[in-house]
């Protein structure tokens, strides 16, 4: 599933043109689009534009009210101010309910969206006029709780987006104040339910999956800091976040291959693609000596249990995925693909072990790890390009090229081991690239021979 959400609308619009030209039937177009969890554009385009503009107008009106409230009009008695805003909130929401009763769902969603902005503003106004300084994230939390059910009842995307945004802001502020945002997990589960059952949205699904990972890492910080109260982010939390990300990517890859619905396959593809991107960024970050110095600093690790958990989660999920994949298909291509992924996972596992259990943080050790990471980045870049050519994936092709070019740029400005060391590293990288090209040529020729 290489066609992502951004291109689906274009494909649907192209398919409509093919139908209009008589190249394919409407039924065929629908069948093709169903493969990509898309459908032929329906309805009036001007109605869609009207809806978007009206929703944005509601958003701006809401912002205007927030700014007015922030101005803190002292001339109006505070009871009147409060009652005024509560009436506007209730009135706007009831207009939404009325529109729903009158079978005008789009208008209803817009009214409810505006009502939700007013609802949040009212919460803030009451806090403002009574000088409430006690734990202000609670206001954001109640705002989100009052918006989320509306998103579920109306299946409105903008209301769901607003709820997700509020829950993320609440999460950041709550964790920033050293509180564990317990219920964030359930909001993210609700996001997954919404995106899979109510209204397909890659954005909501991805944000929910990312949020669950974030919550798990924060949970580890809470566990570390439970003795003294508050959250305690440490080296282990960062390691755990990479392990969680690896497991998520593996689940994404599994969904892409095995999920029953096209929608889920599509979601899986997005998770895998972004997971690979995040992995590459992580590898590139560790091509610098400073990153390794920080990671190998033995003072950063006091809780081996979390490191062991991370290793089990990261390496374990890879072994499980590799086993499943090999049972399904065990040709040369699969073995090479799994080999490169396995190399990255093994490198990660050994690095975590070295960092957490008796790390050697001497300059020599740091340099060895840095050089090895640079070579790993070259291997990943080559593997992505080869994979892209076989699978005709433009995303992988450009990712591979980008990794290699970024690496060349980084090493040109940040030499490892002075000029001679830098030159040797460039030579080794060049050698790996040439060897890969020759291996690929031979491999391709053999495959062609077999096919012939």
């Amino acid at each position: 599933m290489k066609l992502l959400r951004a291109l689906k609308n274009e494909l649907a619009s192209e398919a409509l043109t093919w139908v209009e030209k008589g190249l394919i039937t409407k039924d065929q177009a629908e069948k093709i689009l169903r493969l990509y969890d898309a459908s032929l554009p329906t309805g009036d385009k001007s109605a869609r534009g009207y809806n978007v503009l009206m929703t944005l107008a509601a958003f701006f009106i809401g912002l205007a009210v927030i700014v007015l409230v922030s101005a803190n009009w002292e001339q109006i008695p505070r009871t009147l101010r409060m009652l005024g805003l509560i009436s506007i909130t209730t009135g706007t929401n009831l207009m939404g309910v009325r529109a729903y009763r009158g079978q005008r769902p789009n208008a209803g969603k817009r009214w409810l969206f505006l009502g939700s902005i007013f609802y949040g503003t009212s919460i803030m106004l009451i806090a403002q006029i009574y000088h409430l300084g006690e734990h202000f994230p609670d206001g954001l939390y109640w705002w989100m709780l009052g918006t989320l059910p509306l998103a579920f009842l109306t299946k409105g995307f903008i209301l769901m987006l607003m709820s997700m945004l509020l829950s993320y802001i609440w999460f950041v502020v709550e964790a920033g104040l050293d509180f564990m945002p317990w219920t964030f997990f359930f909001v993210m589960l609700a996001g997954i339910y919404y995106a899979t059952k109510l209204h397909g949205s890659i954005l909501i699904f991805f944000a929910s999956v990312f949020g669950i990972n974030l919550w798990l890492v924060t949970l580890s910080s809470w566990w570390l800091g439970r003795a003294k109260g508050g959250l305690d982010a440490s080296g282990e939390s960062i390691v755990l976040s990479t392990a969680c990300a690896m497991s998520t990517v593996i689940i994404g890859a599994w969904m892409e291959r095995r999920a029953l619905s096209e929608r889920m396959k599509n979601y899986g593809a997005v998770i895998r693609l972004w997971g690979v991107r995040a992995g590459l960024i992580l590898i590139l970050t560790f091509t610098f000596e400073t990153s390794w110095r920080g990671l190998l600093d033995p003072s950063g690790y006091d809780h081996p249990f979390l490191l062991v958990l991370s290793l089990v989660l990261g390496v374990g999920s890879f072994i499980f995925a590799a086993f499943c994949q090999l049972r399904e298909k065990s040709d040369r291509e699969t073995i090479i693909k799994l080999g490169v992924t396995g190399l990255c996972v093994t490198f990660w596992g050994v690095a975590v072990y070295a960092a957490g259990f008796g790390a050697d943080a001497t300059p020599g050790a740091v340099r060895v790890w840095t050089v090895l990471t640079n070579l790993l980045a070259v291997v990943c870049g080559v593997a992505l390009i080869i994979e892209a050519v076989y699978e005709t994936s433009t995303a992988y092709f450009y990712m591979g090229i980008a990794v290699l070019l970024c690496l060349a740029l980084f090493r040109y400005f940040d030499l490892i081991g002075d000029y001679i060391g830098g030159a040797i590293l460039f030579m080794v990288c060049g050698g790996i690239l040439m060897a890969s090209a020759r291996f690929w040529k031979k491999f391709a020729a053999k495959t062609e021979e077999k096919t012939a």
Binding site: V69, S70, A71, N72, W73, E74, M82, I86, T89, T90, N93, L94, G96, V97, Y100, R101, Q103, L112, G115, Y119, S122, I123, M124, I126, A127, Q128, I129, Y130, H131, L132, G133, E134, H135, F136, G139, L140, W142, L145, G146, P149, L150, L153, T154, D178, F179, A227, K228, G229, G230
Partner: protein, 195 residues
């Protein structure tokens, strides 16, 4: 879900929102309606909240409480733990008295949450640390506080004369306290005469 169920659900959410707003309002005004008055000494600064507009952040003298001995008695202490500080009126305003983990049986006291525990003091927050005001007024308050602070650092004879005397009055917070120790900020005042 059919249309009438959706409409019923939407009405329920609207009612829920109303209940949240009413609950917030009632818990805000309860200390103001039923609470005991107290006056606390403040030390303000002036930030802006992204979600709540402009406000003067108030730091109280009460924020740093306890001593080495009392802290070791109260241990183990975690951040966000609740502590009660009894209040004693001295020099015209309320000052920190004893510190306890349980609610005192009598007397005036305020409920605070532990922010940090140092070797010789505990930092507490009471939920009355923000005084909201329009941007210009917030700035004026801040200016006046700074002026009164510097005026009170120089000898009294040279600072307190004519209009300067009123400007050198120190800021205090008028608060109301429920029997649970929950505090609500009523207003700011300059000097202690009108209390």
């Amino acid at each position: 879900m059919n249309s009438s169920k959706v409409v019923r659900g939407l009405v329920a959410v609207v009612v829920f929102q109303l209940l949240v707003l009413s609950g917030e309002y009632l818990t805000s005004v309860a200390p103001l309606w039923f609470g005991e008055p107290a006056i606390l000494k403040i030390r303000p600064v002036d930030p802006r909240s992204l979600f709540r507009g402009n406000y003067v952040a108030l730091n109280y003298d009460l924020e740093e409480v306890g001593n080495e001995e009392r802290i070791s008695e109260l241990k183990p202490l975690k951040t966000q733990d609740i502590l009660y500080v009894s209040l004693k009126k001295k020099d015209g305003y309320h000052q920190a008295g004893s510190l306890s983990k349980t609610k005192p049986n009598r007397g005036l006291f305020i409920r605070g949450r532990v922010q940090s525990v140092g070797p010789s003091s505990i930092n507490l927050k009471y939920g009355i640390e923000a005084y909201f005001a329009p941007k210009d007024r917030a700035r004026d308050i801040e200016k006046r506080i700074r002026k009164s602070r510097s005026a009170n650092r120089v000898p009294t004879s040279s600072a307190a004369s004519g209009s300067e005397a009123s400007e050198s009055l120190l800021p205090y917070a008028r608060v109301r306290l429920l029997s649970s120790g929950k505090a609500a900020l009523e207003d700011l005042q300059w000097g202690l005469e009108d209390f």
